[in-house]
């Protein structure tokens, strides 16, 4: 029993901050804490990675958004908890100088995806790992949790055991359900996407425009650039498209931001974002997708942007996306790539107000100065929220984008 005066309670509330299971998207309802990377009493700086999470979007490196000292760890791995669950408490270094958190994403709750809190996993068998191929995190986790991983068929190179394989084992050990855990994970992701997208389509009055972009110049410029360079310096068309898009967003900022409840508690309002963070839809090989953001795209050079794209693609695959990357996109892009469809009209990811879709590159006959020439084109389409923007502005944005791509060297 403690007896503190009301004043003292107030002070302690001001000095501490709860570290919670983050919402990494409107479709996320729960997450699994798989590992702490910090101990109680350890100092952390804003942006440090403090824990590893397993979510519907794969393994995620969880960041802390304030600087201070880890006061208390309240939840031990491995455990699945609902979004918002307090995992630890942080003593703030300077409460007044708090770094603003990424815009919180309203969580959609679906009864089908309601969280179930797992029991702690304690397997009494000895940990045997000699001669087993497994990723470092799997070894650590297996050791901490005293798991026997000798019998697991790994899905990594040469049968190496990856975190995904272990998750299945953890769930098998803890859940006494009739259906297979793998089916459930897939079903969870499907349900989550269904709920988020249905909500978007029901609430957001989408309208759609498309424009054919002549990218002949851009492709020629890329070919010249890439001819002499090493593979790791190659620039793909997507990097040019994103840079052109960011420059056009600077001109047309109404497409870059959030439509959500105002802080005054009145009707919803549009709030323009201060940075241009473009979320990229990346399809995962095992199915499903993640949408990590590249930050401040308008300020990056094309080659830096290309590095960023390669980096998030790689980390989407191996499970090292950072929590902030899944939280702070201000607009989204879906790129069909060269094997996809001619055009794609995306569903807006709330609370964003626009999504841009790039179709595949194709060759076409085009009339230039009364001559028929072969041009390379692709169709860009824009889905926008009519509560925030009108068709004319959206059309101006697309035309500005088309113009940017005629002078790729200036991007």
């Amino acid at each position: 029993m403690t007896s503190v005066s009301i004043d003292e309670t107030k002070i302690s509330v001001a000095e501490f901050e709860d570290i919670t299971m983050p919402s990494l998207g409107a479709d996320m309802t729960e997450g699994t804490l798989t590992q702490w990377l910090v101990k109680e009493g350890e100092q952390v700086n804003s942006g440090d990675i403090i824990a590893v999470l397993e979510t519907q979007k794969g393994a995620i490196d969880m960041e802390v958004y304030s600087s201070g000292t880890i006061a208390e760890i309240l939840v031990e791995p491995v455990i699945e908890v609902p979004v918002g669950t307090v995992l630890a408490r942080l003593t703030l270094a300077e409460p007044s100088k708090k770094v603003p958190k990424p815009t919180p994403i309203p969580t959609v709750t679906a009864s089908e995806t309601s969280a179930e809190i797992d029991e702690h996993i304690v397997v009494s068998e000895q940990v045997k790992m000699t001669g087993i191929k497994a990723s470092p995190i799997v070894r650590r986790l297996a050791k901490e949790q005293q798991l026997d991983i000798t019998g697991i068929q790994g899905s990594g190179p040469q049968g190496a055991i990856l975190l995904n394989d272990l998750t299945v084992l953890l769930k098998t050990k803890t859940k006494s359900e009739n259906h297979k855990p793998a089916d459930k994970t897939e079903q969870n992701m499907r349900n989550a996407i269904a709920v988020a997208m249905a909500k978007s389509k029901q609430e957001i009055p989408h309208f759609y425009l498309s424009l054919e972009l002549d990218i002949t110049n851009a492709q020629q410029w890329l070919q010249q650039q890439n001819q002499a360079t090493q593979p790791e310096e190659h620039v793909l068309l997507l990097a040019l498209l994103l840079k052109a898009m960011a420059k056009s967003l600077v001109k047309h900022p109404k497409l870059n931001g959030f439509y959500q409840d105002s802080t005054l508690g009145q009707s919803s309002v549009f709030e323009q974002a201060s940075a241009i963070n473009i979320g990229n839809v990346i399809s995962l090989r095992q199915g499903g997708l993640v949408v990590p953001a590249i930050h401040d795209v308008d300020k990056l050079s094309v080659s830096k942007l290309m590095q960023g794209l390669r980096d998030i693609t790689e980390r989407s695959r191996n499970g090292h996306l950072r929590s902030s990357e899944l939280m702070d996109a201000t607009i989204t892009v879906t790129n069909m790539g060269e094997r996809g469809a001619d055009s794609v009209f995306g569903i807006i990811y709330p609370p964003q107000v626009a999504i841009l879709g790039f179709g595949k590159v194709r060759k076409t006959a085009k009339v230039v100065n009364d001559n028929v020439v072969i041009a390379q084109v692709l169709t860009v389409s824009l889905s926008a929220d009519h509560r925030v923007v009108d068709g004319m502005l959206a059309a101006k944005f697309l035309n500005h984008l088309a113009k940017q791509l005629q002078k790729p060297e200036r991007l």
């Binding site: 190179p157 001819q227 593979p231 793909l236 997507l238 090989r285 794209l309 390669r310 790689e314 094997r339």
Partner: protein
């Protein structure tokens, strides 16, 4: 080192580079004479990362102009075998 040894070794190196971008792919999944991007479902970003992985393991840098010479598993095998011989 004889040629057969280099050939076998290079084959393993190519497979490992593919598995860096597409971990679920096994040798049996690949028709060695078909387009590697279709066989392994690689997009342009995957293909680039595959070439980068190969450069790391072999030191051979494949220019964009040479892409048509390396678009199947077997073509890549002979391209690398030539460069490494």
């Amino acid at each position: 080192m004889n040629n057969a040894y280099i050939q076998q070794n290079t084959q393993q190196i190519i497979l490992e580079a593919i598995q860096e971008v597409a971990p679920e792919i096994e040798q049996d999944d690949i028709d060695m004479d078909e387009d590697i991007r279709e066989e392994c479902d690689l997009d342009s970003m995957d293909f680039l990362n595959y070439l980068i992985a190969l450069k790391k393991s072999t030191g051979v840098s494949i220019a964009e102009g040479d892409y048509t010479q390396v678009n199947t598993f077997n073509k890549m095998l002979s391209y690398l075998s030539d460069k490494l011989a």
